[in-house]
């Protein structure tokens, strides 16, 4: 098609100059990478990190665009109507794609999305400002036990990864905290730094971005994050909590098995690049390699857990 043969923007032009074209498996021209949120969030940042590696490895430009609305639902509801020729991909997020369709009819279903790779996750973490009296997780738990509901914790949205983590942890620790939902992680961090709330349910990425301004009390990983060797995991402290918000990429469901396989391999290749891994880790992300083959099992396990948590929390019926 004509539009694919014309290089889009000086951007493509600038990056491609000097690089050998060809060598790409089956993609033909720039790829449209839709992020179903606004810019600046974790989904956007990780897509931006993939962008140069994709251009370098496969000789084609990855054009990131934003299609926000309905907490991602607008984008996902439109995904399967897009062309499945492999030139359009869209970011997907857990638990969003599990919880949203379970709440109401939002125009897509979890199984209806052709998710072909989950490439990273941002582990849940409890974050406090540097000047907070909470030095350890125990301090926070003790305060919450002494003053039920008075420990306010900000987080991004309701029925989100942060909210589910808060409900789960409260239950495990036998405490009652107050969850204050904000519009996105950025707003929730602002509230934390401004001492509007006492702590935040955030991600390891918050710790990476804010550096000395904040302190993480615990991270929900199997092992400590390489960037934060001093921050204990919840498991070490006796709470069986691992997980966070998972991010992957999907194709329209009209894409052929070959196209899906090709994409799964390509994203896998980027994920295997040591330089990419380092950039992701520096940003506080945790890498994950669930390819098209392992997706069904992974999604089934995660869905079951999220739905169970959400049901217990009364977020879905």
């Amino acid at each position: 098609m004509l539009r694919r043969t014309i290089l889009k923007t000086g951007a493509a032009f600038a990056v491609m100059a000097g690089l050998a074209t060809g060598a790409s498996a089956d993609i033909d021209g720039p790829v449209n990478y839709i992020i179903p949120f606004g810019p600046g969030g974790e989904s956007d940042i990780s897509a931006r990190l993939q962008q140069p590696f994709f251009a370098e490895k496969f000789g084609q430009e990855m054009v990131v665009s934003y299609q926000p609305g309905g907490g991602g639902a607008v984008g996902w509801a439109s995904l399967n109507g897009l062309n499945g020729d492999g030139q359009t991909i869209m970011g997907v997020n857990l638990p969003h794609i599990v919880i949203k369709p379970a709440q109401k009819d939002v125009g897509f279903t979890t199984d209806g999305l052709n998710t072909f790779y989950m490439f990273h996750y941002t582990p849940d973490a409890i974050v406090v400002p540097a000047g907070s009296p909470y030095q350890t997780l125990d301090d926070l738990v003790a305060d919450a036990k002494a003053n039920p509901a008075q420990v306010t914790m900000s987080g991004s949205g309701k029925a989100s990864a942060n909210h589910l983590a808060q409900i789960k942890f409260d239950k495990m620790a036998g405490i009652q905290t107050t969850y204050v939902p904000f519009k996105g992680t950025g707003a929730s961090v602002t509230a934390l730094l401004g001492n509007q709330v006492k702590a935040q349910w955030g991600y390891t990425t918050v710790g990476a971005k804010q550096g000395d301004a904040v302190r993480m009390l615990a991270v929900a990983m199997e092992e400590r994050h390489p960037l934060f060797p001093d921050v204990p995991t919840f498991k070490e402290l006796g709470y069986d909590m691992t997980g966070g918000a998972y991010r992957g990429i999907a194709l329209p469901n009209t894409a052929s098995a070959e196209t899906t396989k090709m994409w799964s391999d390509m994203i896998g290749e980027i994920n295997a690049d040591p330089a990419f891994r380092q950039k992701m880790l520096d940003g506080g992300f945790a890498l994950l390699d669930v390819d098209a083959g392992g997706m069904a099992d992974f999604m089934a396990a995660r869905s079951a857990e999220y739905l169970n948590d959400a049901r217990e929390a009364g977020l879905i019926k």
Binding site: G70, T178, K183, V197
Partner: protein, 500 residues
């Protein structure tokens, strides 16, 4: 702050980038539906192959140009090219209708450059201390700020307060449609999936402002804008002397714009509205805001361009983007390996300072570029025959609305809203209160829910809503804005009772 950074920003290549960025941004901003966010998102990959500071200068120049460009459509077509220019329509379009469109465009340019400079200099000199403003604003402060913005409805509704308030409330209801942003419900979609994404602000602006203008334009054969017989080529001198007379307004509005810009989640539209409201409150008796008062344009345009520099303050110092374009710049920085956040000024100082100087250069270049493009835009709008102008603008509304979310249903929603807005405006329910409700509704709702949640948890609801100093100050300003005119009018009536 060293001079060396200034010199490294002054390379011919960087200056060319800044000029290109300002011109491209102005054009992007002048087209309703084409946003700075979209232009920046496409251009980010350039930063991968360029020197980071140069790339940032390009992005910053486009951003600031786009905020200024939004004024053209606001003045000449009554349609804000970007949400920041909403309050520019209040006086800009009346001016254009009176035949002063060229003057209004020139005024907008002076004001934008002035505001842009104030914002950029604040970013250069005061970024770390000013970033505290972003943190001092809690949920309740956002709530009161939105209430202050809504109080403008009272003065916008031209003596028909009930209709204005009803329009504002209706706008706020529109803002809740779709998946709730912070709570977990889907509201007012009536089971349909079309409305899940809610009413996008940009689409709603196009519908509510632009479509009614088009409908009115085709219905009668008159010219679109009144043109003086001897079209004075430029009215720069006149504009400059008006701007000089309003120094105080410019300074106040720029400071408001810088401060509001620092608040993540408020942005240029709120800054413009707050500055407009303040300019109107302190108006001299002979000034008629809403009927083509130059000070109204200058207040809005200086404030919204000041938000560019202001918005970069939390972006660079705290790593918290104030607006979507800021977020894109932040993403570009991250990919470059520049660590934003508290340590950025010390660790990546040279990139940051070169960028800030680049932003200042771009703002200065906006003066000649803006005046030139503005003159051209004005001339083309007044000289293009109506039969071509109307379908061109109509086509732009379609393509612009479509490209926000690549959705045909958004275009249909935009058109429906436009027809609806035209009908209700004909019966006294003006578009502006509805738009104010739509823009400020989410800020009010989130601030209220969060403030209530925190206040209830700490058993201090009253203190939460009324006990915080910044809240009290905003509340006081709101009350003064709302009731001072009425009190003054009452006193006047008391002193001259025979006058009815």
């Amino acid at each position: 702050m060293e001079f060396g950074h200034f010199l490294s920003a002054m390379t011919p290549f960087n200056i060319a980038l800044a000029l290109f960025g300002v011109v491209a941004g102005t054009i992007v901003g002048s087209i309703p539906g084409l946003t700075a966010t979209m232009a920046l998102a496409v251009l980010v990959p350039i930063t991968f192959s360029m020197d980071p500071a140069s790339a940032l200068i390009l992005l910053g120049a486009i951003y600031t140009g786009a905020i200024y460009g939004g004024a053209y459509a606001a003045i000449l077509l009554n349609t804000p090219g970007t949400p920041s220019a909403i309050a520019t329509t209040f006086d800009g379009y009346p001016m254009a209708k009176k035949g002063d469109g060229d003057l209004a465009v020139a005024l907008a340019c002076f004001a934008s450059v002035f505001g842009g400079m104030v914002g950029a200099i604040a970013l250069l000199l005061l970024a770390p201390p000013l970033s505290k403003v972003a943190l001092a604003f809690g949920p309740i402060e956002y709530f009161w700020l939105s209430v202050f913005g809504l109080s403008l409805i009272a003065s916008l509704s031209n003596g028909n307060l009930m209709k204005g308030l009803a329009g504002g409330a209706f706008g706020m209801i529109l803002s809740t449609v779709g998946v709730a942003e912070i709570s977990a419900d889907i509201r007012l979609t009536f089971g349909s999936q079309v409305m899940i994404g809610g009413f996008g602000v940009v689409g709603a602006l196009i519908g509510l402002y632009c479509i009614p203008v088009l409908i009115d334009l085709v219905a009668v054969p008159d010219r679109h804008l009144k043109v003086e017989e001897d079209v004075k080529s430029v009215r720069i001198g006149e504009a400059f002397s008006i701007a000089m007379r309003s120094k105080f307004n410019l300074i106040r509005s720029s400071v408001i714009g810088t401060l509001v810009g620092i608040l993540p989640g408020a942005g240029g539209s709120v800054a413009g509205l707050v500055a407009y409201s303040e300019a109107k409150r302190t108006a001299k008796p002979h000034q008629k805001f809403g009927e083509g008062e130059p000070d109204g344009i200058m207040a809005t345009e200086s404030a919204n361009n000041a938000t560019v520099g202001g918005g970069f303050i939390p972006t660079l110092v705290l790593g918290i983007p104030g607006t979507p374009p800021d977020a894109i710049v932040l993403g570009a920085l991250l990919v470059q390996g520049v660590r934003t956040g508290p340590a950025m000024f010390s660790q990546s100082g040279s990139i940051v300072y070169t960028f800030i100087y680049g932003l200042i250069i771009a703002t200065v270049l906006m003066l000649p570029a803006g005046l030139l493009i503005g003159r051209y835009a004005y001339k083309s709008i007044v000289t293009i025959p109506k039969a071509v102008l109307v379908p061109t603008v109509g086509f732009m509304t379609i393509i612009g609305t479509f490209s926000i979310r690549n959705s045909v249903s958004d275009v249909i929603i935009m058109l429906c809203l436009g027809v609806f807005g035209w009908v209700v405006a004909r019966f006294g329910f003006a578009a502006s209160p509805i738009v104010l409700g739509l823009i400020l509704g989410p800020i009010a709702e989130q601030g209220f829910v969060q403030g209530w949640t925190i206040g209830a948890a700490t058993n201090n609801l009253f203190g939460m809503f009324f006990g915080r100093p910044i809240s009290q100050a905003i509340l006081a300003f709101t009350l003064v804005t709302l009731f001072l005119p009425a009190v003054l009018a009452y006193k006047k009536r008391r002193s001259a009772p025979e006058e009815l």
